[in-house]
Structures are given as structure tokens and as C-alpha cells.
Amino acid sequence: MLEVNGLHAFYGKSHVLHGVTLEVGRGEIVSLLGRNGAGRSTALKAIMGLARAEGSVKFKGEEIAGMKPHQIAWRGLGYVPEDRAVFPDLTVRQNLLLGVKDPKAPGRFRLEEMFALFPRLEERALVPGGVLSGGEQQMLTLCRTMMGNPDLVLVDEPTEGLAPLTVAQVAQFLLEIQKRGVSILLVEQKLAIALDISQRLYVLGHGRVVFGGTPAALRENAAVRKEWLEV
């Protein structure tokens, strides 16, 4: 589905990614782990065309490196940023509708379904997005991206700063969209969640892939955990 090959990326002047190679298969949840500053968020931005990058990014066999973000989005890639980027002055409903790229082509996810999944969003449909709680904003952003009918979503730290109950809800939602045939490339800091829901994981350290494998392999590999993930 997604093949990233020798990706170098830059944030301002800093050379953040030094040749990252990874892939995400159809229907998979793949997690990208690592400490802050390891280059995880920049990797997602580079794939989405939002950061300066060199190297090859193939999506469904097509080279998308160098395309503009909106062109990449139209090819079926969705992006949920770390800061959630809710449009604060628009209502929840309007926020969701903005996720729709082509109003004429209905996607896998409809407004009603989103509301059914998260009744809380329906209750607050007419409330400005800016006044939602952190957890609600996260749900909103995830749902908004789903409205665009993506085949693969890049999700950046969806559980950051959320209460444990909400964290579980987010994880549940990710599994739900996986069930509907959407692949996920997830950046996560909480190792526990990543191990629970992913099929495969990559660990980034200093802009390079230092581990790639299954959750079981990572559980056994204490050296990688100690060196690159734990305190």
C-alpha cells in the first residue's frame, strides 16, 4: 500500500530523517515509535508532502514524493496531525463536512455513522470546535479525516495528553476503521497501545530505523526498548 524508500526529510535547517525505509500493507496498522525528536512526526509530514523531503514514497504503486499535499490527499491518503488542527471557530458539524473532498462522491464513512460511533460529537454538533475538550477534539479530527474516504491514514500521536479512558476509546476507533479496510500508519509514544493494536512496528532513533518487526519481537528485545524508548 505504502512503500517509503530512503526518505530524507528536513525541518527548517535540521536534517531530521536520514534515509528511512518502511512499508505499510493493505489493512495493516503499523506503528512508528521513538522518543520525541527522533523524527516520527516529520516522517508523516514528509509522506504527506508537508515537509521538505528527498527519497521515494510510493502509494498504491504511484510515486507521490514531490506532489502537493492536496494532490496526495486526493489519491487516498489521510493525515491527522499532532496538534489536531480543529478549526476553532467552525462548528463540529462544519469541521466534519470540511473533511469531505468531493461532495458528489459518498465515501465509506458518513456523518450519521460518525455520530453513531461518537454520540458525544452529535450532542455537540453545533458547538464551535474550539471549545471541545482535548479528547473530543481528537475524535473530531479523526472523524474529519475519515470523511475524506482515505485508504490509508497517517495518525500522529492521537493519545497525547488524553485521559486513560479516552485513550482506550481512540484505540478502539483505530481498530474500527481498520475493520472497514483502512490501513493506518500510527505515530505513538505509549508503547503499550502500539503493542496492543499494531501488526508491525518500527522504532526510530536519531532519524534512522533502528528496529522493525512484530509486537512480539519488540517485547522480547529489551535492548531496543531500553536504548530507544524507555526512560
Binding site: 499535499p69 492536496h70 490527499a73 489521510g78 496531525p81 488542527a85 470540511l98
Partner: protein
């Protein structure tokens, strides 16, 4: 009473016209961070195009054709000029629009000459709408008011209720996110720029014949437009609206008041006997610099403007 009402009507008409100029400028500024120095040139272009088109086709076709044509000019400027200047930073953008405003005056002179052109109110809109005591209110002023209010209402509705409006509002706050959601933000920018230019063009169409259509008309309103934007608060549409009306009304009143500063002081119980040039000035004479004085006052007491966000 009579004076107050008529001045108020005139002031509101002028203020609304100002807002048609400042509204587009503010929208463009808050979206792209570009202060379009040439914005008043679109106003001038609107007036001249309307003059030419009404000479060929009559007023009504000109009224409907000129603003979209100005919009197209705006789109071309954004697409082929500003986007390139943007690479060199904000100063280059500002200088580009500054150069453009200069060139616009030259081009207008090239085509239509340096003199005032004969762009007149059409006969169908001549005459008196109503007479208040002894002062008559012309039909055309009413028409100007109607067009401004109608246009602004239409735009407000467009922004509030259509998908395009929604996309524009969202792109104002998070252009990067809108890109990632699959919206072509550069195209939206061009659209907004064109829209702002067309709005300025419309102001020129209905203002050019009410005032005068001449090469100096852009330079005459340009600085005032900037003052409105500073007074209202950079990037605030509501602020621009309030400031437009405020300046429109204040200036109209001051033109009508023939009191000197001594008279005003007397109102407050002060007796000034000085005969210096300053105290002999009348409010009418002060009217042209009133907007600038207001700007300085705002800068001293409320640097972020009436409605501007705290920076």
C-alpha cells in the same frame, strides 16, 4: 436635526463604500498575510472600466461587467506576480504591490489620459429620492447604499452558508490542514484575491461617478483604506466594518461643521483668545487629516486597533 440626519446618511454611504474596499483588503491580509498596496488601484480600475463600458454598452452592462473584469485582473496579479514575489518574503510582496499601484496609475493615464473622465450617473438614477426639510437626498446615493448593503449581505451569506465560504474560513485559520484534507489552498487564495479585487472594482463602479474618476483617485483613497485597517485592527473584518463607518461618518460631519477650534473649546467652557493658525482652523479644514489623527490616537491608546487580536 436636518443636518445631522443628512450627514449621517451621507456618512453611512461613504462608510459602506470604504468597507467595500477595506473588506477585501482585510480578508486578503488575514488569509495570506499580504498587505495589498495596489488594492485602491483595483478601485480605480473599476471606475475606469465602468466609464469605458458605459460609453460602449450603457451603464447597466458596465455595472455588471466591470467588477468581474477587475476580479480577473486581480487573479492574474496574484497568480503571476504575487506568488513569485512571495518567495522573496513579505517586504518583496509589499514592494511588488507598491510598484503595481504606481504602474496602474501610469497605465490608466496611458489609456485614458491625465484629465478627469466624464463618467456620470446614468439618467435613470438621477433625481431626488426624498427631501428632508430643505435638503434633498439624491437617488444615486440611495442606489449606492442599496448596492453596498446588498453586496455585503450577499458576501456575508456566502461566507456563512456555502461550502466555499466554509472552506475559505477554515483556510484562514489552518491553511496547512486544509491542504492535507485535500483542498487546493493556493487556488482558494487566488479566488479570494480575485474576490477582493472585484469588490474594490464594484466600489469603483458606484463611487467613480458619485465622486470623480481621475488618475489620482487611487492615491486619494489608498492611505485612508490603510488607516481604516489599522484603526479597525489588522485582519479583523468586524473591526474594518466599524472603522469604515466611523471614519465615513466622522469625516462627513466634519466637512459640514464650520466651527473653529476656538468654538469647540468654548463649548467646553474654555476661552481661547489666541489667533494662531492652529486655533483658527475649522473642523472642515481638519477633515482630510482626521483619519490620520484617529490612527495616531489609536496607536497611542490601543495599538492593536479597535477589534484586533492581541499580538
Amino acid at each position: 436635526m436636518e443636518f445631522t440626519l443628512i450627514s449621517l446618511l451621507n456618512g453611512v454611504t461613504y462608510g459602506l463604500l470604504l468597507f467595500m474596499l477595506c473588506g477585501g483588503l482585510t480578508l486578503i491580509f488575514s488569509m495570506m498575510g499580504i498587505l495589498n498596496f495596489a488594492h485602491a488601484s483595483f478601485y480605480m480600475l473599476g471606475a475606469y472600466l465602468a466609464f469605458q463600458l458605459s460609453a460602449w454598452l450603457g451603464f447597466w452592462p458596465a455595472f455588471f461587467l466591470a467588477p468581474p473584469l477587475v476580479g480577473v485582473a486581480g487573479a492574474l496579479v496574484e497568480r503571476y506576480g504575487l506568488r513569485r514575489a512571495h518567495r522573496h518574503g513579505h517586504v518583496a510582496e509589499l514592494l511588488f504591490t507598491f510598484g503595481l499601484s504606481f504602474l496602474a496609475v501610469e497605465m490608466v493615464q496611458l489609456v485614458w489620459g491625465k484629465a478627469v473622465v466624464d463618467y456620470r450617473v446614468p439618467p435613470s438614477l438621477e433625481g431626488t429620492l426624498f427631501t428632508l426639510y430643505s435638503t434633498s437626498f439624491p437617488v444615486y446615493k440611495g442606489f449606492m447604499m442599496l448596492v453596498s448593503v446588498g453586496m455585503l449581505a450577499l458576501l456575508a451569506a456566502l461566507l456563512a452558508y456555502t461550502r466555499t465560504g466554509l472552506i475559505i474560513k477554515a483556510a484562514l485559520s489552518r491553511p496547512d490542514m486544509m491542504q492535507a484534507l485535500g483542498h487546493d489552498v493556493p487556488r482558494i487564495f487566488t479566488l479570494v484575491f480575485a474576490g477582493g479585487a472585484a469588490l474594490a472594482g464594484l466600489a469603483g463602479v458606484i463611487g467613480g461617478n458619485a465622486f470623480v474618476t481621475e488618475p489620482g483617485m487611487a492615491a486619494a483613497v489608498g492611505p485612508i483604506v490603510f488607516v481604516v485597517v489599522v484603526v479597525g485592527g489588522l485582519g479583523s473584518l468586524l473591526g474594518a466594518f466599524v472603522a469604515s463607518l466611523l471614519i465615513g461618518i466622522l469625516q462627513t460631519f466634519m466637512v459640514g461643521w464650520d466651527y473653529s477650534i476656538i468654538d469647540v473649546a468654548r463649548l467646553f467652557g474654555m476661552q481661547l483668545h489666541s489667533t494662531s493658525a492652529l486655533t483658527r482652523l475649522s473642523l472642515t479644514q481638519l477633515a482630510p487629516i482626521m483619519p490620520y489623527l484617529l490612527m495616531v490616537a489609536i496607536l497611542i491608546f490601543r495599538p492593536r486597533g479597535l477589534m484586533g487580536a492581541r499580538s
